[in-house]
Symmetry: C3
Subunit: 404 residues, 3 copies
């Protein structure tokens, strides 16, 4: 079983075993977010890796009223932000941190953000997470489409979740699931809901997202999804590598053309580098599962991001290897779409439609690769998926942005 | 006495009898909204129709922190939203619901809405009420006027109320009044306050709005008001009818021209119908009072909306008979103005001026017509107001929108 | 020592003596703003001028959740708004009020303001303070610069502060300091923090602001600062005067040209006057310190605003002598810049740069001049700084706005 296959199995199990789980409502229409703390000991679970879940609320500044759920599964510590689209703020295993250091230090309450500010770049005032949900009405760079300014990467990251619930299986391996619902609704415009789920297991160095987008409306609707998954040191460094089974890669824009030859290798923090982005079409196995890896230069530490190309057929590699202070970070971004404005992606066939009353699932699994053996195993899986198939390296961008 | 006449009388009585009422401050500068519940029994009122008033606060999602006041007058249950301009979310008598099913399911805190988003259509992200206040600096479709983007239907619906107070007369019929103040203020731009009041009586199937707009500034100011009053099933259905004493009717735009012959009859939920809007100039009686009715096909169930044409001289009939999921709804909308952008209404004489330190009153009465007798009685009143006077059916829109 | 010199000395003393102060955290990430009250008596301080500090929170309307810190130093009462950029809402000594009566009556929570609304004038929906911080990414009138709409006077006034702390020296004169930090951060755009401080002393009729802007980023950044300090009656009246050591004065725009001859004298409330603005380049002493004064016609009551021209080299005099209801007010505005849009100030050399990891200090001292002797003393100081040097009166604006 690939990691993603495991996830699917786990997810099915979780749903089936719902009656055998400890369930907690952390936030609901009639229940305010209040300090909450539960431990495996309190549940009577005897485990080598004691776990706990905590809800806390931030105060002051633009983070006033933001709720955070901290999950310590005994091996990995995760922080999820219900107030910001159930985004994953950070995860860590011991001193190894998944995530990055954004100049944005506060966990910003969407009440204080104007997405339409800065010419549609207001989203940047809150961007600092390990996993930032982008979508679901649109993703991509700001710009006009159908007479409307589409703001950067859509609204999902700035929609506060309702009905936030915690579920802990009563039987080993005591899977821990945190769920929350996002409503992306506007009369005549959109009627989406997104049932988000984060799942992990005590002692695991992995977690999975398991999102279900539903079009509650009576009409088919365009949608887009992109999981902006952001990593920095200790994975990212000069000579760090990205690996994936690649069917096609192309530079996002003219700037990215220059570094195309080295697109899978990272620079150290580089003054005035800004960013380069590569559009990747990954290969997958016969089930559609694929795997991407970021690892350090020595190949002794990495992260794996697994997803299914039937759900998320394309992938953006965002190489923001500017200075530490500017945000030294790379984004591994499985999506339905690249990061162009929606009007550019329609001709590319990357603006899918969700039928009325239909649902779409998006499942992504994040794993720490804690040593060389783990890195090598994932690289072998990637090689197995590639299976000798050719990679097309397109020398020019898919979209001509020179008129922008 | 017409229903509206009754309202005016009642309102005067309420004001005069203030010293003989139970008064409660639900929300004020130094008083946070907290759970509150009062019943007729607690007040020692012995009545065949026990009544109660409740304040509650919603949590989670984009409705975090929204206060709701539920009034159960013993016959009708009403929900008012102080956080959203004292809008009336819904009303119901038994299983008969006044209101509609918007795709917007949350009662959205204005903190999470950018009215300037979606090209000025951000308002649609919160629109789901039975009565949504529109105004008072402007109403109408978004567009530029005097170099400024006027957002859809103004700010009123997204202004949280302060000084929310409840008053229950100590003597029969124990009139229940809920008041709240909206401040629509911007340095150099506008200095309006709106004293809103909702009045009902125990056992009644009516309620009235009684708003006073005051220009606190030293200069005359343009203003506009529109009461977006929205109904769906069981009143709205195929063959449902709208009735009013009509002096002039015209299609809002070219689309509405096509259905002009049937403008007073409704379709059932109709795929791809979207909406048609008709501009109505109603006749009134010698006091300026007029009445409009929506009733089902059988004429056995309806709602009446009464107002005074000296306060609100025009009326829009919004026929949004699209599918249920898209929002099957009709709006009965008394106003100072139609729903065109303000720049189009100035030449029509529909952008009135409020003098410095002057006040304007807007009174609207909403009544359930629970059976055929009640419907017929209201239709007879309408006929009496029309009094044989002619209706001008204008074949073309008042405004040429073809350049839009 | 000039008043400003005293401030600097005091500030240094405060920092050094930190260990000898009573310190209170009023608001922090893990500490919600809660009602707080401390008095000199509780601290065991025996003083002829008992002092107190209070934290309270406003509710209802657009001021829901706004925190206010009231400092009564025994002679002067001050109100500071952590939720609005640590702005100084008002100050008063007995019945003499520093501040003004804006049409905006609520202390508006930034969550309810769209700065990008009204063509970039959304700021006006919250503007009512004695001292409103403008900056720090930009100040000035709204307009496009580098492809982005810069909203009126920047974001500072609408950034809620975090880490709000109170410090009271344990030894005479028991200086009272209130601090709070503003984060002005957006990925790729800006990484500023502003450590604000307000200092006063028991029994004093002065207070000082002591702000430190830090560019946390790795790149030099343009910045602008302007302290919009607003006064009305009893200082402002017909015949009231403005005094400063003036090197150069020019009308802001064509309208201000007309009144240039009388630019230092005020009108009474004047219907349809709107506003005139004068750009002032002040002289300073050899240390860069300068002083500006507004006083009533009789010269018996005034306010002094002292600052350092090495920090804030220019000054705007905003004469908004329209009617009382419209906001009869004058702004004394020391700044790095005038009030033009940033794109106009770059050619004037008024868009300074802050280096990476560098800090800039802004210190302004506000003093009540309670009688003729105090006014005369300050006017003498101004005269001493002018020291007979010439004033250039430029007849035309520095910027040609006729194309606007």
């Amino acid at each position: 079983m690939t990691p993603l296959r495991l996830l699917v199995a786990l997810s099915a199990f979780t749903a089936a075993s719902h009656a055998m789980a400890w369930d907690y409502v952390l936030l609901d229409t009639d229940k305010a977010a209040q300090d909450f703390h539960i431990t495996s000991a309190q549940l009577g679970v005897k485990t080598a890796k004691p776990f706990s879940v905590t809800l806390r609320t931030l105060h002051g500044g633009r983070q006033e009223g933001v709720s955070i759920v901290d999950i310590d599964n005994g091996a990995m510590k995760l922080s999820v932000v219900p107030t910001r689209g159930m985004n994953v703020l950070q995860a860590s295993v011991g001193t190894v941190r998944m995530g990055w250091d954004s100049p944005v230090k506060e966990v910003v309450n969407p009440a204080f953000i104007e997405l339409n500010g800065r010419g549609g770049l207001g989203w940047l005032e809150g961007f600092n997470e390990l996993v930032t949900r982008c979508g679901y009405e649109w993703v991509g760079h700001p710009g006009m489409d159908n007479g409307e300014l589409l703001t950067l990467h859509g609204r999902a990251a700035n929609i506060p979740a309702n009905k936030v619930t915690l579920h802990i299986d009563e039987k080993p391996p005591y899977a821990i699931s945190l769920r929350g619902e996002l409503k992306e609704q506007a009369f005549k415009k959109v009627d989406f809901s997104v049932a988000t789920e984060l799942v992990t297991e005590p002692g695991s160095v992995s977690f999975a997202l398991n999102d279900t987008l539903t079009n509650n409306g009576d009409y088919p609707k365009e949608y887009q999804a992109l999981y902006h998954s952001n990593f920095s040191t200790p994975f990212l460094e000069e000579g760090a590598k990205f690996a994936a089974p690649v069917k096609q890669v192309s530079p996002f824009n003219d700037k990215a053309k220059a570094d195309l030859a080295d697109w899978q290798t990272y620079r150290g923090p580089t003054r005035d580098y800004d960013e380069t982005v590569y559009n990747v079409v990954p290969y997958a196995d016969t089930q559609g599962d694929t795997l991407t890896v970021l690892h350090n230069k020595a190949g002794s530490l990495g992260v794996a991001v697994g997803f299914n190309t039937r759900q998320l057929p394309v992938f953006s590699l965002w190489k923001n290897t500017d200075t530490q202070g500017q945000g030294y970070v790379t984004g591994l971004e499985p999506g339905t779409s690249f990061s162009y404005n929606r009007r550019y992606q329609r001709p590319l066939g990357l603006v899918p439609t969700i039928e009325a009353r239909q649902s779409k699932q998006f499942q992504i699994r994040y794993s720490l690769l804690a040593d060389k053996a783990a890195v090598d195993k994932s690289l072998a899986e990637i090689s197995q998926i590639q299976n000798g198939r050719q990679t097309e390296v397109r020398p020019t961008p898919l979209v001509d942005l020179s008129q922008e």
